[in-house]
């Protein structure tokens, strides 16, 4: 496989994978349990999920390490398992990626608020991300994806930690925005322009948005990112908004709808198109078909 850095810069467009959480719920993860617990107890579940997304056509397979920083794990008393959880999650995906897809280490928020909003010091948060990044890199990820971030300072700490752990491993960094009367902002009040500048400054190799929105808002976000930055762009959309149907949470945007609208992302010049909450292998299959079709 070509180095991921090249694919990000020169194309062709990469298809990301879909939601991890719903897949885990369907395979017995009890609500409220951190997903990372599945890694050590039943790694075969992670292999299955990776295989399903790989066969659906994903180029990037993310690891089950979203909440794998020690600060986040500590909220469940699991910080000491940080290294093992990150390593085994990477190895499980690597066994399935087997040269057909890139292994991307997922790094989500620490669950803490930095001073002055909260009481976590930057040094403590940086150290937490460092531990996670070192474990991911040692286990052999092809890239790291810092995602679902809402606080720019935290995102920067994570990106820098990744770069420090392995300068040559590409770092993707995406934030979650909400549509507001004044424009798109994260829940911490960060604008797209601020995010683009801040993430680039921290050393991210590709930037963009994930989660929070269905594909139509994501297309608008992609446009704003494109206007604010020359870096490769990453967009991972939710399958719309969640609704409760007969007691189950269902997302309302179909694979066809997602893929159809996602076509506009190609024109905008996005480098990675994937799915977040509510997306399934079917959504990824539809994205794959759309991307392949557009290349003809």
């Amino acid at each position: 496989m070509r180095p991921l850095r090249e694919r990000l810069a020169a194309g062709p467009v990469l298809v990301g994978d879909g939601a991890m959480g719903t897949m885990l719920f369907e395979r017995g993860l009890p609500p409220g349990e951190p997903p990372e617990t599945v890694t050590l107890s039943r790694p075969e579940v992670l292999e299955e999920i990776a295989r399903l997304y790989r066969d659906a056509g994903a180029d990037l397979l993310e690891t089950n390490t979203f909440g794998g920083s020690p600060l986040k794990l500590e909220l469940h008393g699991l910080a000491s398992s940080c290294e093992a959880m990150n390593r085994e999650a990477v190895l499980a995906v690597r066994r399935m990626a087997a040269g057909r897809a890139y292994v991307v280490g997922s790094v989500g928020p620490s669950g803490r608020l930095l001073e002055p909003y909260g009481d976590t010091k930057p040094a403590a948060m940086a150290d937490s991300f460092r531990r996670q990044m070192e474990a991911l890199v040692a286990a052999g990820v092809d890239a790291v994806c810092v995602e679902t971030m809402t606080d720019l300072a935290e995102a920067q700490l994570a990106v820098r930690a990744a770069k420090a752990a392995a300068p040559d491993v590409p770092v993707l960094a995406t934030m979650t925005f909400d549509p507001t009367p004044r424009g798109y902002f994260t829940i911490m009040g960060v604008s797209v322009a601020q995010a683009a500048d801040g993430l680039a400054e921290a050393g991210a190799d590709a930037i963009g948005s994930n989660c929070g929105n269905g594909i139509e808002h994501m297309v608008a976000l992609a446009r704003e990112f494109r206007a604010a930055s020359r870096l490769p762009l990453v967009i991972q959309a939710n399958a719309g908004l969640p609704k409760s149907v007969a007691g189950r949470t269902v997302y309302d945007e179909s694979p066809e709808f997602l893929a159809g609208k996602a076509r506009e992302l190609l024109a905008i010049g996005v480098s990675v198109i994937g799915g977040c909450c509510g997306t399934t292998p079917e959504h990824i299959r539809a994205l794959r078909a759309m991307v392949d079709d557009a290349r003809r």
């Binding site: 719920f25 909003y117 909260g118 009481d119 979650t176 009367p181 424009g183 829940i187 007691g247």
Partner: protein
């Protein structure tokens, strides 16, 4: 569901760290002995005078839509309205620590025992908020017991005076909830009495409905800004 909420003193007694935070004291390695003394004295007074109680009343979304409209003074776009529209279940609620605390505070100020008064006041503010949080959990527990399955469901509270819901909305809220059954009244200026009380709506639904960016005009004027920590706690978990 329409019920009186009962709380023990222990239920509403706030954690030390929270009281210190409310007083603006950061988590220090060691507190000066006299600050410890103040906390102890305040805790004693708190336990002696607190009489916590609450009330919770479920209502259909269409009815809440009327309640939240209030006297028509809400901001044109308000997170509460938007979130409530996507809710699966709603309940009006009110909690109070009772008048005893307020009276104790008046006495302390009259006696010029300022430091103790402020410590007790901080304790009571944290406790009132804590009682509201307990109401959130009780509503969620009741819903789950009834079969509400949403694995990514969450219950969050919203109160008049915040997030674009004008404080005059208290009047419709009180009319609908009738919290005078727990001794809670509203002045003409929409002030609750006893002062250490919280009222509002409990909104249950998928976590995602609660997300909003605090970038509205009224956010600039907000002193509380609790939305940030609530949303971070809610959303920096499972990406799902």
């Amino acid at each position: 569901m329409n019920e009186i909420l009962t709380f023990t003193t222990a239920d509403v007694s706030p954690a030390r760290e929270a009281v210190l935070a409310q007083l603006g004291i950061p988590p220090l390695a060691a507190l000066p002995p006299r600050t410890e003394g103040l906390l102890d004295a305040a805790a004693k007074l708190f336990a002696e005078h607190v009489a916590p109680t609450g009330v919770m009343s479920e209502l259909p979304p269409e009815v809440f839509a009327q309640v939240v409209r209030g006297e028509g003074r809400n901001a044109p776009e308000s997170p509460v309205g938007i979130i409530a529209a996507r809710a699966e279940h709603l309940a009006l609620f009110a909690v109070t620590l009772g008048q005893g605390i307020g009276d104790a505070l008046s006495r302390l100020f009259a006696a010029e025992d300022f430091a103790l008064a402020y410590t007790l006041d901080a304790m009571a503010s944290v406790a009132a908020d804590g009682a509201a949080e307990i109401a959130e959990r009780r509503f969620e527990a009741a819903l789950r017991a009834r079969g509400w399955a949403a694995p990514d469901g969450a219950v969050l509270r919203y109160s008049p005076g915040y997030c674009g819901w004008d404080v005059t909305g208290q009047r419709r809220l009180f009319a609908a909830l009738q919290p005078d059954r727990i001794g809670l009244t509203l002045t003409d200026s929409c002030l609750m009495q006893p002062l250490k009380s919280v009222s509002g709506v409990l909104i249950a639904g998928p976590k995602a409905i609660h997300r909003f960016s605090p970038t509205y005009d009224f956010c600039d004027r907000c002193e509380a800004r609790t939305c940030r920590s609530r949303l971070v706690a809610l959303f920096t978990s499972l990406r799902a």
